[in-house]
């Protein structure tokens, strides 16, 4: 098969589930917020919190410094809450869940039935604005681990939510984060008790199904002293020719000696090959290494979305804390990505490491934007940053915008970046051994990304590798 003959493989997860939806009235207003809060049966403090965020939102302006520009979003023309009608009353067990929903997840390769699941992964499945099911709850309960939808946590564990929600991303942070604080619908809540190693991978699968709907999920993960958790996040959406907004907030808190490993395989609908449709993925992810010797590690594989705009960050407050960021961002056709990380060193002897791999093909634009800020008090801190970009063709762009600040004499920052194309010699070598152009490129790109792919948990690594190859199909030749 010649590479020119290869067509872009259709987006595998682009189907729509025909299901009756129950929606909030269109538009962003105090009524919408009250509606969401009411339907989630939230206590008053939560509603007040949302309203405070909404008040703040009114004075904030949408940021416009990013590289990918997009048409103005009409916030009044969006639904802020959409859930399958059958989910109006929360099902007691999996048997009560609408079979259509279960089928959807089966189709996505995420069976919710515990027997069929890969053992070792507990899943929280979020469909539009509600959590459909959470698996392996019983087993986790035994260890005292809380893994549930955040709406449930607000009711059952208010002291934890009150204490940590908004403590990493304050309600007045920036436009999209504040918007999320006002209208967030569902997401996952994780609490790992002291000195507990979570026995399985925790995972949330986000699915946007309804049209004209924005998804605003909120995830909060707390790792108490000496605990460990690995959390995975996956996401898909149907193919539509409208752009849909996804503005999530993810907050991580690691206390003394705790470690959180957060992995994302982002595969929202990227739009078609002419750049029509696709998700605007404007996400705020931030982790606070609050305790001594704590560690937060972000790994992301970004292949989907029309526009990806996010900077998973680490605030290294505790002495000896460690922040890591591993990223692969692949853009093809008219996709755009502006992603990177922020490492803010506040504690002594803090360390951070950034490995970013950007690949652009077609007419895409890929930007790495990052900040390393070593505070005057963060003595003996270290940072190492490496960002490499790969360009395929001369219609795409690769950009690197690192901000590097060093405010004390005992800390060291090292930063390296390169931009290049696929080595002709390597391609030739592969061709010579009988690999066609596509296969050769896929092999080389996978090698280019290896450092990041290695960081993913087993269950994700295989999928991510395939995704990397598929995302680039049609970009060679």
């Amino acid at each position: 098969m010649k590479s020119e003959e290869l067509k872009n493989q259709e987006y595998k997860y682009g189907f729509t589930t025909q299901i009756e939806n129950f929606k909030a009235p269109k538009g962003l207003s105090e009524e919408t917020i009250r509606f969401i809060s009411k339907i989630k049966k939230e206590p008053k403090w939560m509603l007040d919190w949302r309203l405070k965020a909404f008040k703040r939102l009114k004075v904030l302006k949408e940021p416009n410094w990013q590289k990918p520009k997009y048409p103005k979003i009409d916030y009044q023309n969006l639904y802020y809450y959409s859930a399958p009608k059958s989910m109006k009353e929360k099902p007691k067990s999996l048997d009560d869940v609408d079979p259509k929903l279960i089928e959807t997840y089966n189709k996505l390769g995420i069976p919710l039935n515990e027997q069929k699941r890969l053992s070792g992964v507990a899943v929280d499945a979020v469909f539009d604005s509600v959590s459909v099911a959470t698996t392996f709850k019983g087993e986790l309960d035994k260890k005292g681990i809380i893994f549930c939808p955040i709406s449930e946590a607000i009711q059952k564990h208010p002291h934890l939510v009150k204490k940590y929600l908004g403590s990493v991303i304050p309600i007045s942070d920036h436009y999209f984060a504040t918007l999320n604080s006002a209208v967030f619908t569902d997401g996952s809540f994780v609490y790992i008790p002291p000195n507990t190693r979570c026995p399985m991978e925790l995972s949330t699968y986000f699915r946007i199904n309804a049209s004209e709907t924005g998804q605003f999920e909120r995830t909060l993960i707390i790792a108490d002293k000496g605990s460990y958790v690995s959390y995975l996040e996956g996401c898909t959406a149907p193919m539509r020719d409208e752009n849909q907004l996804h503005a999530a907030n993810v907050e991580l808190v690691a206390l003394d000696d705790a470690e959180i490993k957060y992995s994302t395989v982002q595969n929202w609908y990227p739009g078609d090959k002419d750049g029509v449709g696709g998700i605007y993925n404007f996400v705020t992810k931030r982790g606070a290494c609050r305790g001594k010797n704590s560690k937060i590690s972000w790994t992301q594989v970004e292949t989907g979305s029309a526009i990806t705009w996010k900077y998973p960050s680490c605030i290294l407050q505790g002495d000896n804390s460690v922040g890591e960021f591993y990223s692969i961002a692949i853009t093809n056709n008219y996709q755009k990505a502006d992603t990177g990380t922020k490492m803010i060193h506040l504690g002594k002897n803090t360390k951070s490491k950034i490995i970013s791999k950007g690949i652009s093909a077609g007419q895409a634009d890929n930007t790495y934007r990052g900040l390393v800020d070593i505070n005057a008090k963060a003595k003996n801190s270290r940072n190492y940053t490496q960002c490499d970009s790969l360009l395929m063709g001369n219609k795409c762009g690769a950009h690197t915008v690192p901000y590097i600040k060093n405010k004390n004499s005992s800390s060291t920052i090292e930063h390296e970046a390169t931009t290049s194309k696929i080595n002709e010699d390597q391609l030739f070598y592969c061709n010579q051994r009988g690999l066609n152009q596509e296969e050769a490129v896929s092999l080389i790109v996978n090698g280019f990304c290896k450092e990041v792919l290695q960081q993913l948990p087993m269950e994700f690594a295989v999928e991510a590798q395939k995704l990397v190859s598929i995302s680039l199909e049609g970009s060679v030749g």
């Binding site: 410094w65 005057a376 970009s389 360009l391 395929m392 063709g393 001369n394 219609k395 795409c396 762009g397 690769a398 950009h399 690197t400 915008v401 690192p402 901000y403 590097i404 600040k405 060093n406 405010k407 004390n408 004499s409 005992s410 800390s411 060291t412 920052i413 090292e414 930063h415 390296e416 970046a417 390169t418 931009t419 290049s420 194309k421």
Partner: protein, 413 residues
């Protein structure tokens, strides 16, 4: 802003009413936008508005002055020279060159420079410019000796602002070494310079920036230039000892095989702040750019490097490199960098590196075990760190002169 700037337009000699109107219009535009602050991405790390307001109560434009001192010329090597006193073109002497090949004259203030409408300081410059020098080299002429621009600032400049505009043009296959040499008497002032450079086909321009003494001046210099086929531009920034200095370089490599080098070696001391901002635009294939910025920061100094490499889609085979290294010697010192790449062509070799940290403990330990005392070991390493910049100067006499100059600065640490 209006309170800060007390400008008397009568002090500016202008040729026509029309020109005066244009100046006033530019000044109004400037007042409207004010001095750039950190909200402006280009001034993110050096909030000029804050710095000026902190250090100046009122700023006036410079007045007529009498000058009868004799400027002490450099006698380490033969050279031609141009003298500017307080930004005003005073005299020039090109005794080593063929007279009809090198043209140096006073630049009339409002000769249009590039259009930089989004730069407030450009408006300010257009409003108050006193002109500067205009230098043109005829084609196929290679200057035999360097030309030194003596920039002399007198002590009665306190709280004044000087606006300069210069123009440098090298016609085909010409060559020039230009040294900008600042001498300042003790006073606190502002200088805002806009310089335009055109380098013709096959030509080579080398510029060195250096200070004779420490200065209380606040300098901003904007250099915008274009380069033709096979041309070379080299800029050595060795201007340590300024209270505030920002150099803003925008070079456009318009035609194939042009190369651009920016090399800096700075030692910043107490209350000093320097920023180097560059934008190298690769607009044609096979061009090369190379930037190496080295800062030694002591006390509460602040060093900034904002570099950008832009590669247009047709500029294949571009070779672009940025490196910034900082030695931070004191906990109060700060180094900020933003080495940026914006690339639209795929067959390119673009990379950047940036490091900042303190002196290598192992190296110090090694030297000390050889019986070298700590302060001397430190100086040795700092010298070695900065000296790397001089390796790129082929002219031996100049190299010795600059090295001597830097050594004096290191010994002050």
């Amino acid at each position: 802003m209006e309170q800060l700037f007390n400008i008397d337009f009568k002090r500016i000699s202008t040729s026509s009413e029309k020109e005066m109107l244009k100046r006033k219009k530019n000044f109004e535009l400037f007042l409207k936008k004010g001095l750039p602050n950190k909200k402006d991405e280009n001034w993110k790390f050096s909030d000029l508005n804050f710095i000026i307001n902190k250090n100046f109560n009122q700023i006036t434009n410079s007045d007529g002055f009498r000058f009868d001192k004799k400027i002490e010329l450099i006698n380490d090597f033969d050279h031609n020279h141009v003298i500017l006193i307080n930004g005003v073109f005073k005299s020039c002497d090109i005794r080593f060159e063929e007279k009809d090949k090198v043209k140096i004259q006073k630049l009339n203030s409002l000769e249009s420079l590039s259009n930089q409408s989004n730069n407030n300081l450009h408006n300010l410059n257009q409003a108050l410019s006193l002109g500067g020098f205009k230098l043109e080299l005829q084609k196929n002429y290679k200057c035999k000796k360097p030309i030194i621009i003596y920039n002399y600032f007198t002590s009665n400049l306190d709280n004044k602002i000087i606006n300069n505009s210069n123009q440098i043009k090298l016609n085909q296959n010409s060559e020039l070494i230009l040294i900008e040499y600042n001498i300042t008497e003790k006073c606190k002032f502002l200088k805002n310079t806009f310089e335009k450079i055109n380098i013709g086909q096959g030509s080579e321009l080398k510029i060195f920036n250096i200070q004779k003494t420490k200065s209380n001046g606040y300098f901003y210099k904007n250099i915008s230039g274009t380069q033709d086929y096979n041309s070379t531009y080299q800029n050595f920034l060795l201007s340590s000892g300024l209270k505030f200095n920002k150099i803003d370089i925008d070079m456009v490599l318009e035609k194939e095989n042009a190369s651009c080098y920016i090399l800096a070696g700075l030692i910043l001391g107490k209350e000093e702040h320097q920023e180097i901002k560059t934008r190298i635009n690769h607009m044609a294939p096979n061009c090369k750019s190379y930037q190496k910025i080295k800062n030694v920061l002591e006390n509460d100094s602040k060093g900034v490097y904002q570099g950008k490499i832009f590669v247009k889609d047709i500029a294949q085979k571009t070779d672009a490199y940025q490196l910034s290294k900082a030695l931070i010697l004191d906990d109060k010192a700060e180094f900020n960098a933003k080495p940026e790449l914006e690339i639209y062509a795929d067959d390119v070799k673009c990379s950047h590196g940036s490091t900042s940290g303190s002196i290598d403990e192992d190296a110090i330990h090694y030297l000390m075990t050889r019986g070298i005392e700590l302060p001397i070991a430190k100086k040795l390493l700092i010298n070695g760190f900065i000296n790397e910049i001089f390796e790129n100067i082929p002219e031996e006499t100049l190299k010795i002169f600059f090295e001597k100059n830097i050594k004096e600065q290191v010994s002050e640490i």
